[in-house]
């Protein structure tokens, strides 16, 4: 089970829900594993990790400046309560990729951030640009 298979599952799921999706999106000198634009214009970022959720929380915090919602995605497992709390406290969401490739949300969706307009616009443009280049 690799990080790539988590990314693939997230990309598939978001596309089903009508998102425009790009992977490895440059953002604040960090790379967002998945960047997605919803039909209503919302910008989502998903950091995918097999392990090291703590590190993912750190990376994901910066993305909050430019995305309306930020998630950490990992394989389904029994995540410790303390980790779940850290994710919630950081204002992030958590997504599990299940053994059959479906995606579930073990905690409630995070509240919408108040991203920085300029940064949000740039991230949206980069997602669209990457989608066009890959089309």
């Amino acid at each position: 089970m690799s990080e790539k298979s988590i990314v693939n599952a997230i990309v598939e799921t978001l596309r089903v829900y009508g998102f425009t999706v790009a992977t490895e999106v440059a953002n604040f000198y960090r790379s967002a594993d998945v960047g997605a634009l919803a039909r209503n214009g919302d910008v989502w970022v998903v950091e995918c990790k097999v392990s090291s959720i703590g590190q993912a929380i750190k990376q994901a915090k910066t993305h909050k400046l430019s995305a309306d919602k930020v998630f950490i995605a990992t394989f389904y497992k029994n995540t410790r309560e303390i980790t779940l709390r850290r994710i919630r406290d950081a204002g992030l969401g958590l997504l599990y990729v299940m053994p059959d490739g479906s995606v579930s949300k073990p905690v409630e969706l995070p509240k919408r951030n108040m991203p920085w307009g300029l940064a949000r616009k740039r991230l949206s443009e980069r997602i669209l640009e990457l989608r066009e280049n890959n089309a």
């Binding site: 790539k4 604040f28 920085w116």
Partner: protein, 458 residues
Amino acid sequence: MPKHIYNYNTHAEKRYFLGPEHHGLYDIIRLNGNIVSHTPEGVAGFLATAGKDFYIDPQTHAFQHATIHLKSDVSDKKKKEPPRYKFKPSIVKLANERLGGPFSQVIANDKPISPAVFTDKGTIKNVAINSVCQSVKEFQLDLIESELDDEAKEFIEGPSGFKPVFVIAPYFYLSKHSWREWLEINVACYQRMKELVEDVPTYLSLVVSKDALDNEGDIVSAISGVKPDGILLWIDSHVEEELRRSEVESYVHFLKELNGNTEFLYNSHGGYLSILLCHPELGGILDGVAHSVNYGEHRNVVPIGGGLPMARFYLYSLHSRLRWGDAADIVQPRGWLDSVGSYRENICMCHQCQELFDEKGSAEKAFDLYGKSNPVTITRRDGTIVRLEYPTKEAKQAATRHYLYNKAKEFDDVETKTYNELLQDLDAIYREVSENSGEEVVSHLRTWYEALRETRDC
């Protein structure tokens, strides 16, 4: 007044040393021996224009490390040749044409200098010491002046003519295991150099590993025997923001001990912690601090030179070069980008930022420019795709100028604010930022505050 020293490492940095806007921001230029050796005429012209005090670091320690650190890969990567390392031309020139003797033997034999070159069964070889001191002295005192023609000399007169403000005795790194042998050699070199040089002061360069500092008493004792005119201190990989409280206290203690045995004590690679230690109320524990242009507040002893880091945003209140995203994460949610007034009050009021306000029309657009980048897509050998960002030229230049203005302000503050005010500032910003953003990027402020408060009371 503490001396603010800029390290001049490449000619590409020249613009940040010259011109009326930069000239008043610093006091002394430190030239690395490599660049002086390789392009003396270019350095002479630069110094003539800069009109500043300067000194030359002969970088003799470079020749005691594994020679791989003096080489670069010259293989043709397009042809997928395996790595092939050759001595860098500038190093060859420094060794063969400037320093000679045991330094050129490093190139000829592809083996580093060992203490045995200067000692025989524990006894210093005076002939060897004298020889290296002669060449190192000539390199520092004569080379640049010899590159200027008479007409140029007539027109140009720096604050100290074309002599450095001091010369540095040959020096070697005090490593964890062989610090004692090298210290003895360094002291012998200093003594001989002092005898050879009459018209300018002689400084001792003390380059030391953190582990060797466990033997602080022995090091200070050896130095107290010669009482150098000045000391340039360089602690390997001494990242001030990462120090524990006990390490800050040890650092301060070491400085105090050294300071009692010399007239001038400069940190060759230091940040705000070191600048604070120049405060007059502390009796001048340090007399000056050097850094490079938007980097170089700490430095590893090896590799020798190279590797300019990416541009970062210097956030004055944190006294730290932050990744631009981390800086944005602090300033944007607090509303510091909401107006020019708020930006100036909370972030910065330097000329660079002001120029950007005027040009871009708003605080947030000005700040945004510091993060402007060009994304680059890289496909790794395993097929994975990585997207990196490189700062634009405009962003790098703006970040560098902003950094230099802020560094100058730190030196000004040390002279105009009380020590207590500056300590309280550290504590206040720590509390403000850590409350909502966590301790991660501000914990150093608390560490410094606690250690320096105690230090002052001692």
